[in-house]
Symmetry: C2
Subunit: 293 residues, 2 copies
């Protein structure tokens, strides 16, 4: 078993997601909170310029800048491309402070509760996620096979890693309850890692419910790309709940309901995430699976 | 009695408040929805550049650009200062399309429900507000004597006017329920105005509950201006509810609760509005008053 020697806790990959930013600031004021005997914990405010201007990003979404060939491409000069190289050069493989585990703290305007997005189904990641689900009833585990194809996220730079995605909370807003729950999650991750290093990881159930991303759904749009409908009130804030064929999905501005036309029951997440309007994503559909650990 | 000859419905004074923007777009596609026999209704997307970049404003808050001396000051050249002059030159006194009534559509991350913010306590405004409170149980009426001193808002450019402030909804997000309720409010305003012009305004109760803004409260901050606490979970989303001396107001990042130390019961609004962090406003305190119409 490989020991975890360094953990990186990252906030502010998106500059308007305040929960992670203020949590990193807190940990930087009180580093003792994240120290553990068997490994080092470092923190990072990933996109300080975006935080300064109160936006998700300056030039481009930092969390889509971690494709290996982009990190090696010296011609990419956007602010976020450069930050990605700096972050990889610090925490990535062969970096100045190579980390074994990265925890990237995000928030969402969707009702994601306390979501752990796994970068891979490595046994450590799965066991950690299983531990966290036992720790708090609002913890959900999300996994996407497509996540690391095409546009890998920040949490892909280390062998182990996860993204913490909490919500619903508006961009540019601190929700005290979510702040405290996110802090408890980070503490639980560090406690689990310490026990793992000591060879005494806490026992977890041998199956885990994982929501597996299978498809994104865009808003209905006209020929100019303008959206023609909103998330239906019956679906708003219903992330992780079953959506059956025929259930209502969108409501046009003229009041016409549009139903989900798929053939199978799915579990939508990231419903009405503000940052995804420009990405052509009204929600992500997932399948609910029981995974053996 | 002066007849109302032209009404201006304005959306997108803040570029990331989508409810008003998409409602104005809808009315521009279907102008028959806002036509009435006795007056003309015009629409305006007030800050199209801010909407394009998904931000509240480009250079400065457009809704603080309507001071008369600023409108006459040719040296002010920010995008919003210029837009304010254009808007005043169109709908303002002596403008190309001078309006008698302006309805400015906003949204908030605070739980403002369906708030009507009055620009003045003119009898028409009060009677309209009283009608709207009878129309929908979520309608609240907010008034601030300080609103038109210093930094008058867009709705100050006409004799009659109000700001519609709906929430809670995140910036950059459409909430279908709030969209429909806002549209119903606009229709009710137009219907009331038509009846008023016909000399048959619907009867309203002779008293009206008005929340009167008396003070703003900032977040606790350190010597660098950084906030030190969040809205307390017991206060989050409790806009328009009574806050008594000793009730909890803030929670520091270290988990210390901070109580409201005033001497009188107040009714906070704009609690945890994202756009007000930079303005030094965690909430506005109001007094609840019964006003005779």
């Amino acid at each position: 078993m490989k020991k975890i020697e360094r953990v990186a806790i990252v906030g502010g990959t998106h500059g308007n997601e305040l929960t992670g930013i203020y949590l990193v600031k807190k940990f930087e004021r009180s580093p003792n909170l994240i120290q553990r005997p068997s490994f080092e914990t470092l923190t990072l405010l990933a996109n300080p310029k975006a935080y300064e201007i109160g936006k998700r990003y300056v030039d481009t979404d930092l969390n889509r800048c971690f494709l290996r060939q982009d990190l090696e491409n010296s011609s990419l000069s956007s602010y976020e491309a450069q930050r990605a190289k700096e972050i990889y050069g610090k925490f990535g493989s062969g970096g100045s402070h190579q980390a074994d585990l990265v925890v990237d703290l995000h928030s969402s305007t969707a009702n994601m509760e306390l979501t752990i997005i796994l970068a891979s189904k490595q046994p450590f990641n799965l066991q950690l996620a299983a531990y966290l689900t036992s720790f708090h009833s609002k913890v959900k585990v999300l996994y996407s096979t497509t996540r690391n194809q095409g546009t890998p996220h920040l949490d892909s730079i280390c062998e182990f890693g996860c993204t913490v995605e909490v919500g619903a909370v508006a961009q540019g807003v601190l929700d005290a309850t979510l702040f405290q729950q996110t802090e408890e999650l980070v503490q639980a991750i560090l406690d689990y890692t310490e026990a793992y290093n000591q060879g005494t990881p806490p026992p977890v159930r041998d199956t885990l419910t994982v929501y597996h991303s299978i498809q994104t759904i865009d808003y209905p749009r006209n020929e100019f790309g303008e959206i023609q409908a909103m998330i239906h009130p019956q679906l708003q804030f219903r992330d992780y709940e079953a959506l059956h064929p025929g259930d209502l999905m969108f409501l046009t501005f003229d009041g016409q309901a549009i139903a989900y036309e798929g053939e199978a029951t799915v579990y939508p997440v990231f419903i009405n995430e503000a940052a995804y309007y420009e990405k052509g994503v009204a929600m992500c559909l997932t399948e609910k699976q029981e995974v053996t650990i």
